[in-house]
Symmetry: C2
Subunit: 381 residues, 2 copies
């Protein structure tokens, strides 16, 4: 059953499953317990932290294990709101994930937030970043890769600009990690991701905090994570996450260009066979796995349902928003009209996706499309 | 290797492991995805919520899935701090878990917090609860069972008093759930627990919110959990938690009185064989699995280490605080002196613990104890 909804969540990899089961057998004890079995879990937890440090090319003490990206976003925004002056301004990319926008909105007043516009390609307007920094924003929030469109943001440049301006750079790497090399991301002050987006289990993730920021505390409690996150560490989940990330970094990401070619071939084919389809963000560099496709006609929910009947799983956009009727803020920021946005399906592949499955998807899209384009612009398919 | 540190964390039960693996195979998709596979996960998530509602004897819509007890405590305290008047007072049991005290301290000013004393038995002073309610505290925070001593609190009475006074009652049931019947706990307005304390995986838990409280949001994000907790739901973790809790409720808790007799027999035996040992909270009703034992002499860390060499795992107190030198606030609240507190070991059994293992522990305690009591009160053993 070809699954093209990897950006919503991924199946657990074999390596992650094995690591989890192994840890549930021999490292399930509480890392804070005073006996040797507990201490051994503590050591393995530290080894896991060092592995994340290696992958991210940063010191292990920047790594804080979390319950996922939403938790990280909230913890970081709460911390920044407490650390920054009460009237500090914060510049936020318009196409961030709802969990990041939700976190910003939870801890900053709307008059503190400068919305950074994107080009129609989905790429952030760098002049707006520069202008915001020139006006003294204290923090800049820009994701590495967009979940709906796959559009990549120039995070290296932004990290450099922020460093020069003395502003804090927060980078949501949830959709980047495991798909593209993680090296360099640690140039951002704060980086975070979630294991279930790269083959690890749900309910676990990690963040990087600035090297000098020792006052960070996601929540107080039993002093776990050097006081940075209360709550018994989920070592089996962490072990599974590390296994998935290491495998992705050490072998999978090397195949990125092959996968990119497969995606591009699919895009050419579908535009040839369904001429009025359009790829959102076609002018930008995008993740090798993601296509936001404007269908020629018919509402996206109908396309999703028809493909679903053909055993092909795609989405209408970000999973968490897909049940809602509001048009995507990501597409709106890219000047996709509301009418067009209702025709967008999100296709997101995984490392396991084969060229044959892409072919199956192309064929199915042609099959489920109405044979002739109806006269009316919006019609049930 | 007899493990007597169940209050720190429990091994995963076979039922929980099976549920987790099953869900990772056939229900790993995102519950918010618009295809049928996602919808099926959404339905199973709702079924899991209803099962928790059955166990807790409350409406399923009171159940919010969380990442654990620390997260729940913080979410609840943040919510109460926003809902209650700015100068509202909140009464908090002195022997709460550090994560609850940390959460209270994160969201309430110290002058808002009325500390509720306990008797030397560890049982809360009900007159203090009544007095606090009489003085108009808006919320009362008392755990169901203590993690260090196993002392049970009269939560049914407190729930009744709070209901009459119109105050909110928050009850940490982390150590109660899975050990004693959960029925009735839903009389508290807010209840929470963590799966890894009752045989489920780490990183997952649940809370009950008041039936009418629709404004609760642990964190904003993608609108998951009816907007009450952003972040992709960890359905495999939730399925494993439900499996562990159902098994505990449907069969294990029926054996409580047997287990209590085994614990009592151990206490009698150890006090006979090591006459100057003392059970903390002996005058109170306690969990069938927990003993905080004041050893006749020698520091607790030495006892733990010596037992550890005999392949017996006990703790010095709550796992998260065990690496720290500060004396336990729980023991201090029970008027255990600092000198005595340094001699306390925590023994916490599980459903898997056999009478033979209890016997092994008693024998080992006698073996590792110095043969004669030294003249000095504090001496290395």
């Amino acid at each position: 059953m070809p699954y093209f909804d990897y950006n919503a969540t991924t199946p657990l990899t074999a390596a992650a499953r094995e690591a989890w089961l192994g840890a549930q057998t021999d490292a399930w004890q509480n890392a804070s317990s005073p006996h040797r079995a507990g201490a051994r879990v503590g050591l393995r937890l530290q080894a896991a932290r060092e592995k994340i440090g290696l992958v991210m090319d940063c010191r292990a003490d920047r790594v804080v294990f979390t319950g996922g990206a939403t938790e990280a976003a909230h913890g970081i925004m709460q911390h920044l709101s407490e650390q920054l002056p009460a009237d500090a301004k914060i510049a936020v990319n318009s196409t961030e994930h709802p969990c990041v926008l939700g976190a910003v909105g939870s801890y900053f007043e709307s008059e503190q937030v400068v919305r950074l516009p994107v080009e129609t390609s989905g790429r952030i307007e760098m002049s707006a970043v520069e202008a915001a920094l020139g006006e003294g924003v204290k923090a800049v929030v820009v994701m590495a890769a967009n979940n709906e469109t796959g559009v990549l943001q120039p995070w290296e440049e932004i990290a450099e600009l922020c460093r020069h301006a003395g502003a804090t750079f927060v980078c949501d790497a949830s959709q980047w990690l495991g798909k593209l090399p993680a090296g360099g991301l640690a140039a951002a002050d704060w980086v975070f991701g979630a294991a279930h987006k790269f083959g690890g289990p749900k309910g676990v993730g990690f963040l990087l905090r600035p090297a000098g920021d020792n006052g960070f505390s996601l929540r107080r409690g039993g002093g776990q994570e050097s006081g940075q996150r209360g709550g018994t560490e989920d070592f089996p989940g962490i072990a599974a996450m590390v296994a998935a990330l290491l495998e992705a970094e050490q072998s999978k990401v090397l195949h990125e260009s092959d996968r990119l070619r497969t995606r591009e071939a699919f895009e050419r084919e579908i535009q040839r066979r369904l001429p009025d389809t359009r790829v959102v963000g076609a002018a930008a560099e995008r993740l090798w796995n993601t296509i936001a496709l404007v269908m020629p006609h018919g509402e996206n929910h109908r396309w999703v349902a028809r493909l679903d009947k053909c055993q092909l799983q795609v989405s209408t956009g970000s999973a968490c928003a897909s049940g809602k009727d509001a048009p995507s803020h990501v597409l709106a920021a890219m000047r996709v009209t509301g009418e067009e946005a209702r025709r967008v399906i999100r296709i997101s592949a995984g490392w396991e996706t084969t060229p044959q499955e892409w072919q199956e998807l192309a064929d199915a899209l042609v099959v489920v499309a109405p044979s002739t384009k109806p006269a009316s612009a919006v019609i049930s398919i």
